[in-house]
Symmetry: C2
Subunit: 115 residues, 2 copies
């Protein structure tokens, strides 16, 4: 039962990460990190089709990563828990460092650098 509980948690955690595993959704989260926004604005900012954005927002709603408030005809989205962005930030940092490392490995072939 303790074992089951742990597996259950890993499953949930994986589902949460799955939500973060899509470029458009990451972009949306980043935009919502700045401030709450209506769908229209998210569509404009991403340059993607409205239906697509709505679909991704629906997925994030289902996982309680974003929440909504109706304002007239608009639906304003916001982050449920800003810490999600922290997690994103870390993965981004790791990624950037990897890229930098690769670049510095490739660099000597192009121009010599001193360490």
């Amino acid at each position: 039962m303790e074992r089951e509980r742990e597996e259950q948690l890993y499953r949930l955690q994986a589902e949460l990460c799955q939500v973060l595993a899509e470029p458009t959704r990451l972009k949306l989260l980043s935009l919502l990190g700045e401030r709450p926004r209506p769908v229209k604005e998210l569509v404009e900012a991403t340059g993607q089709r409205q239906a697509k954005i709505s679909q991704h927002l629906a997925i994030m709603r289902q996982r309680n990563i974003v929440r909504t408030v109706r304002v007239g005809t608009e639906v304003h989205y916001s982050l449920t828990d800003p810490r999600i962005l922290e997690a994103c930030h870390i993965t981004r940092e790791v990624l950037l460092q990897q890229l930098t490392k690769q670049a510095s490995l490739a660099a000597p072939l192009v121009h010599t650098e001193r360490v």
Copy 2:
């Protein structure tokens, strides 16, 4: 071109998150967070089939999330960048809080609590 670069980054970030979006891989990362381990040990600790574990490890190798060292017949795996665990930790925290919140919403129906 600036735009392209940004999209490129989101794509890479999504791929990284995708690696975290699988319960067995999360468990493996957690185990490797404690210390480097040979595959055999990971197989034992997870109770999953060897082929499955190797497959998941291969995915994490490809993404540079883990690295390997051969020690005789064994292959020892370790984390490339422990910060990955930080990201995992945060998602786990968020998750736990969500669960707690749900529980506390359900609680009043069972037994009354004071705030």
